[in-house]
Assembly symmetry: C2
Homo-oligomer: 469 residues x 2
């Protein structure tokens, strides 16, 4: 019997390579790219195998903590959600994992996994983790290397050394491929991709962190010790956590003598760009992949994805056409890696679509701006059962709410009013108001804002059950 | 002094070659493709040159009569608008032009012009018409031929014969190019494209119609004689007009002995597909043309056009990407001619975007559906100053109207209520209601419909100032 692994999922990545679907406001790990589950949900499900894993820990940013909670609830997976007040890099996340692991068990084995990776054979993935755990229990730190599929230059490579046991090899070096020629040589020489997924003895990792990045371990430890529980989240103490130096865990892995590597044969992708999505998707006629309302006429091996609009692609091959409600990308699959540069340019040009979605997720539900002009804005607001918006007021806008589904409980200054389906309520400028869904089904509201300034920063929060004031 | 031409613009074409921008609900002649004016408006302006042309006549379908009136008003051109109750082809339109011309003057010269053609040198176009008028006054019927720019197979060709006078030649034959080889031979042999624009002596044309298509002339004449004036339109009598055989004017031109041709050197296009739009547009950097919010990264000679969404096109050349609020087309410019086939397939598949726009123009203004679900729909409605919607009721929906700009006069059963900016009104299922804009600025309303059925056919019109009941 090998010991169970305490699995820790790191949700840090932004993944703008899948723009316009993934953006800072909704990173790729939370988006369903294949079927119904997001990469995060697929990962969480795999790490729920109770024969190999202990109870799940998820490390998320403050911005995405409610998305994490929602997505876990949908798949019925329980987890401890740890909130990072700011992003401090992967070494910090590993240090937190070490602390939380040791708090459960002094001999704990911990596994840290990326939220945005996709594996094809889940059973083999779990088996590989179990094998890695046996090695980690004996020998400290095991990284899962991936047999390279092609001479990639955007991944790091691991040079495996002598075999320790059962397919685990000592790590001789972590290296980068400076170009495709070097990468091709690495392939020939049996190097592995560094997937960044680690399984380790927590005490060993703590010792290595203390040796090589003592400040990371000390400040992260203090942030955990002083952290507090709130709304079901474990929030790290912000001041201590802000002190953690921003270091990648690779910096430790390059220096430690305790690292070994096991090859993961389960089929792996970090889904870094749209060509990877096409490769991993089930193909339709002529190799085309169509998500949403799309037609290909006279074309092969295309990826079409549309949230809303009807998409007609004529006479092109090997192209990705990705349409969200507010943005459209057209790129040959072979150039899909350039999308990160494109997003950087859009950001530099101040295009809001570079980073923000029109549909915004909030702890109480979500809203979508459906019409915007100089003097009015219309939003479709969905409030989860039990959801409560902050008690708020505005200096520049009045609001009209029409309930189109469900029942709203509206606070307006001193009144509390139940607003039913097909009823409306008016909220004059300056009134203190709040909306809640006391019912059992989602509440859908059409909100019409009228005023001289309609920015989100004219929401003056007075009280908030989600502690966002 | 030559006699003035009575110019008649025919607005029949649908022009789905420019889908998704042009559709049955808004044909290409009414859409601004270059600058601010539509092709119809450009044509109407050219035909307003009072030194050459008499007062304009426009022949339009019932569906688009208000669009015609609106677009003329915007450019300040006065015209007689003739409404065809049904579409009966170009011979019918010419017969109507003959009748209206002769009603003005027994020796009238009439010019019939397509609404969706674009000419590059407007002054030369007018001069050419003036020259054609002199010939027509002497010799009957003059067609304006276009020196071919390339061996097109989708236009008819004219074989010019001996010169009559001043660059006008007898027409030897109207022919079709069966393939590109034949078309190339036509180019070498000095044939001209048949642009379908004619200038003729009305009495001569009437005689030719009576000789070759007597039923067309008789029924069209009766439809004009029995037609009525209403709301400023001349509407043809529907029963008589429905009797007109559907014939192309080319069928008369092929048989008459009175036809001559003048070459139009003014630069002509029927803007049949997106590659023509690119060719006629002013190019930006690397030959790219961008209308709306669009970026090209690493690509040349593309046409980007977006109504609303941000468009990012990466690493492609010579492609058209056209995005409306509800549809997106991606097609290499060289294959843009295929778009008509694509629209036919979308139509066969029952896709509503094949024929209808999300923004719908009405005599009183326009509306745009901004949100639609199973139990609710949200529309943004704009009512022109003085505009009045029909008095109506619904069996399946209640409506909430929020005025976001202007002032509404609302009739609700027995009440008349003035609704100001930032006020709302509720219209229960079954109530008889009407909205009007009594003010001086456009009225903008957000309409929230709630109900079990939201189709347009649940608008029961009781009274309509635009006679649409």
């Amino acid at each position: 019997m090998h010991p169970k692994i305490i699995p820790v999922v790191m949700c840090e990545g932004a993944g703008i390579g899948l723009w316009p679907v993934s953006r800072d406001s909704m990173p790729k790990q939370f988006i369903p790219l294949f079927g119904r589950d997001s990469a995060f949900q697929r990962t969480a499900k795999l790490l729920s195998d109770a024969t190999v894993f202990d109870r799940l820990i998820v490390i998320a940013s403050a911005e995405h903590r409610f998305t994490v909670a929602d997505q876990l609830q949908v798949i019925g997976v329980k987890a401890e959600i740890v909130v990072e007040p700011v992003c401090r890099g992967s070494a910090a996340a590993v240090a937190i994992a070490v602390e939380l692991g040791l708090a459960r068990d002094g001999a704990a084995l911990v596994g840290v996994f990326a939220a945005d990776h996709v594996v094809q054979d889940g059973r083999l993935f779990v088996e590989t983790c179990a094998r890695a755990a046996v090695v980690a229990a004996q020998d400290g730190i095991v990284t899962i290397g991936i047999p390279p599929a092609y001479p990639a230059t955007r991944y790091g490579y691991i040079r495996p050394g002598s075999e320790i046991t059962d397919g685990a090899h000592r790590v001789e070096a972590f290296v980068e491929a400076s170009d495709a020629v070097q990468a091709a040589r690495y392939l020939t020489d049996g190097y592995l991709w560094n997937s960044g997924n680690l399984i380790f003895n927590a005490a060993t990792m703590r010792a290595e962190l203390e040796t090589f990045e003592a400040d990371v371990m000390a400040s992260a430890g203090e942030a955990v010790a002083k952290g507090g529980r709130d709304l079901g989240f474990l929030t790290l103490e912000p001041l201590a956590f802000a002190e953690v130096p921003k270091v990648s865990i690779t910096a430790i892995m390059e220096r430690t003598q305790k690292a070994s590597v096991i090859a993961g044969q389960f089929g792996w992708s970090d889904v870094g760009c749209w060509s990877a999505v096409w490769e991993l998707s089930e193909k339709g006629a002529n190799g085309n992949v169509v998500e949403g309302r799309g037609y290909v006429f006279d074309g092969a091996n295309n990826l079409l994805r549309s949230e809303d609009a009807l998409l007609a692609v004529v006479g092109v091959d090997d192209i990705a056409v990705i349409a969200t409600r507010d943005s459209i990308l057209v790129v040959p699959k072979a150039m899909a890696g350039k999308v990160t540069d494109v997003v950087a340019l859009l950001t530099a040009n101040g295009e809001p679509e570079a980073g923000s979605h029109r549909e915004i997720h909030r702890p109480w539900g979500k809203y979508l701006s459906i019409d915007l002009d100089t003097r009015h804005q219309v939003k479709r607001i969905t409030v989860k059962p039990g959801g409560v918006l902050s008690l708020q007021k505005h200096y520049h806008r009045a609001e009209h709410w029409v309930v189109v589904r469900g029942t709203a409980e509206v606070t307006r200054d001193d009144e509390t009013i139940i607003v039913h389906e097909n009823e409306s309520i008016y909220l004059p400028i300056g009134c203190v108001h709040r909306m809640a869904n006391p019912g059992k089904i989602p509440l859908d509201i059409i909100e019409v804002q009228v005023g001289s300034y309609l920015g989100e920063d004219d929401i003056i929060r007075i009280e908030d059950i989600y502690k966002r004031c």
